[in-house]
């Protein structure tokens, strides 16, 4: 029997929870069909999480592609279908494959499996990032390097901690409603690996603490810089990412297992710093959002 999972019209970090909710009760060896026919838009989180989801299934899943041509065309330009074809049985009309000429795609969906993939990501994004961050987001010139440093560190976390490969994508776009229609740039990095809790437990075992679980593992790692490695130099990558986020009024969120931790800026008061009891999903799914800087900021 095929279980149909209905995808929301707009696929982002928050709406993806609807997919996780539908997926949770379905055993991994059962066939699923992700129905994206009515989906009109997807963020980098949506695209990378979709690929990650397929990697958690024992039975190859199916994907019905968006009927809207612009949507499908964008997914194609973002290199989503190039990778999805290896993971999903695709149904529906695929647009002709094209390179991402659109300037808003800073980094197409890219696999992160080996160290050299991080080099490739960094080499590829620098030129495009400079143009977008300075011209569209009005950030100072030195932000490009720091943005790329943050991207590099987040990608390395996949290789070092996930135990599997992951996916990264970066896009700039204009928010329609939030932040008064400001431009933002969004980095999403998703994997279906061991996740934060198992990563910490792999070195020290479960903590003898009533609260021990995904949320506490996230707190320890993200907020306190704890690492499974004994090397005292570890944990600096995430610390650097947090500094970058703080400096540029950005937002950082990471979902792992059944919890999600977010460093919530003032411009997004509706979000919560910690969510627990979410539908379980393996690995870690990270999103960084950097907003356009207004002239008086």
């Amino acid at each position: 029997m095929t279980n149909v999972i209905n995808m929301p019209p707009s696929l982002d970090e928050h709406s993806f929870e609807q997919i996780f909710d539908q997926l949770a009760p379905i055993p991994p060896d059962e066939k699923i069909l992700l129905d994206a026919r009515r989906t009109r838009w997807a963020s980098p989180f949506g695209l990378t999480a979709l690929l990650t989801l397929a990697q958690t299934r024992l039975e190859r899943p199916s994907l019905a592609v968006p009927e809207n041509e612009d949507t499908a065309s964008y997914w194609s330009r973002a290199s989503f279908f190039k990778h999805a074809e290896n993971l999903y049985d695709i149904s529906g009309r695929l647009p002709r494959s094209r390179q991402a000429s659109e300037s808003s795609v800073l980094l197409e969906v890219t696999p992160v499996v080996h160290t050299q993939d991080v080099h490739t990501v960094v080499e590829n994004i620098q030129q495009r990032a400079r143009a977008i961050l300075q011209e569209k987001l009005h950030l100072q010139s030195q932000v490009t390097m720091r943005f790329t440093m943050a991207l590099s560190e987040i990608c390395q976390n996949v290789i070092e901690h996930a135990g599997t490969g992951g996916w990264v994508a970066v896009q700039a776009y204009k928010w329609q409603q939030r932040l008064g229609g400001r431009n933002v740039v969004v980095i999403a990095v998703c994997d279906a690996g061991m996740g934060f809790r198992k990563s910490l437990e792999s070195a020290q075992g479960p903590r003898p603490h009533d609260r021990w679980g995904d949320s506490m593992a996230l707190e320890e790692t993200v907020m306190k810089g704890v690492s499974r490695f004994r090397d005292p130099g570890r944990g600096q990558g995430l610390a650097g990412v947090k500094r970058f986020i703080g400096t540029w009024d950005g937002k950082f969120s990471v979902r792992s297992g059944t919890s999600r931790l977010a460093i919530v800026p003032e411009w997004d008061p509706g979000d919560e710093p910690m969510k627990e009891g979410l539908a379980p999903f393996p690995g870690a799914q990270v999103q960084i959002t950097i907003p356009e800087r207004m002239p008086d900021a």
């Binding site: 080099h119 080499e123 390097m145 590099s152 560190e153 290789i159 600096q236 990558g237 650097g240």
Partner: protein, 207 residues
């Protein structure tokens, strides 16, 4: 012996011909090992100018592997690997940010040479150490008594301060006194130890 090490060349030689960015821990470890091999060949007492001019990006993880782990071997143990002094040259603002973070994490310090040839301290250095270091740079070479006279601290404290700076490899100790650690760019002549106008060129014995 003075040695100029182009970090970007070490990256290309050790990891990949096409890379210009220092990112990831494995890359950092490979570059550090490349630098160590180079240092192994230049004698027991040496000054190495690590030139970052052609390095694009340096991320935190790579900075930890290259800078912190390199320094820890030579400056922060009781019996360091050898008497090697470092000058970090050609660093841009983002390099500085990553390096400053890792120095702070490990309580390390280093000497960097700025574009105008002036030297500066980076990392964890208390006020007394910084004052003493600046005085050494100002005077060119000092003995404990001269530092004591110049700063107004007792001679034994001045001696201890210079010894600490030397142990951290922030000043060079010679029989004739303590000298600032400087590269040879901009034609500087650190305490008479260097005469070469090219970065780390030549090769002058540190006695």
């Amino acid at each position: 012996m003075i040695s100029h090490i182009d970090v970007s060349s070490v990256l290309r030689r050790s990891v990949c011909d096409l890379y210009s960015n220092l990112v990831t821990r494995p890359t950092g470890a490979a570059v550090r090992i490349g630098i160590e091999h180079h240092l192994d060949e230049i004698g027991d007492k040496a000054l190495a100018v690590l030139d970052f001019s052609h390095v694009g990006l340096l991320d935190f993880s790579c900075a930890d592997e290259i800078v912190a782990k390199l320094l820890m071997q030579y400056v922060s143990v009781d019996i360091p690997r050898r008497e090697v002094y470092f000058v970090f040259y050609g660093m841009n603002e983002s390099h500085l940010e990553a390096i400053e973070a890792v120095l702070e994490r490990h309580d390390l310090a280093l000497v960097t040479q700025l574009a105008d040839g002036a030297s500066a301290l980076m990392g964890t250095v208390d006020r007394e150490q910084r004052t003493a270091w600046e005085k050494v740079c100002e005077l060119g070479s000092v003995r404990a008594k001269e530092l004591a006279d110049a700063t107004g601290v007792p001679a034994d404290i001045a001696e201890r301060m210079l010894e600490t700076l030397w142990r951290r490899r922030l000043v060079i100790r010679q029989e004739s006194g303590y000298f600032p650690v400087r590269g040879a760019t901009a034609g500087l002549n650190p305490g008479g130890l260097l005469a070469d106008g090219t970065p780390g060129g030549g090769g002058v014995e540190l006695s």
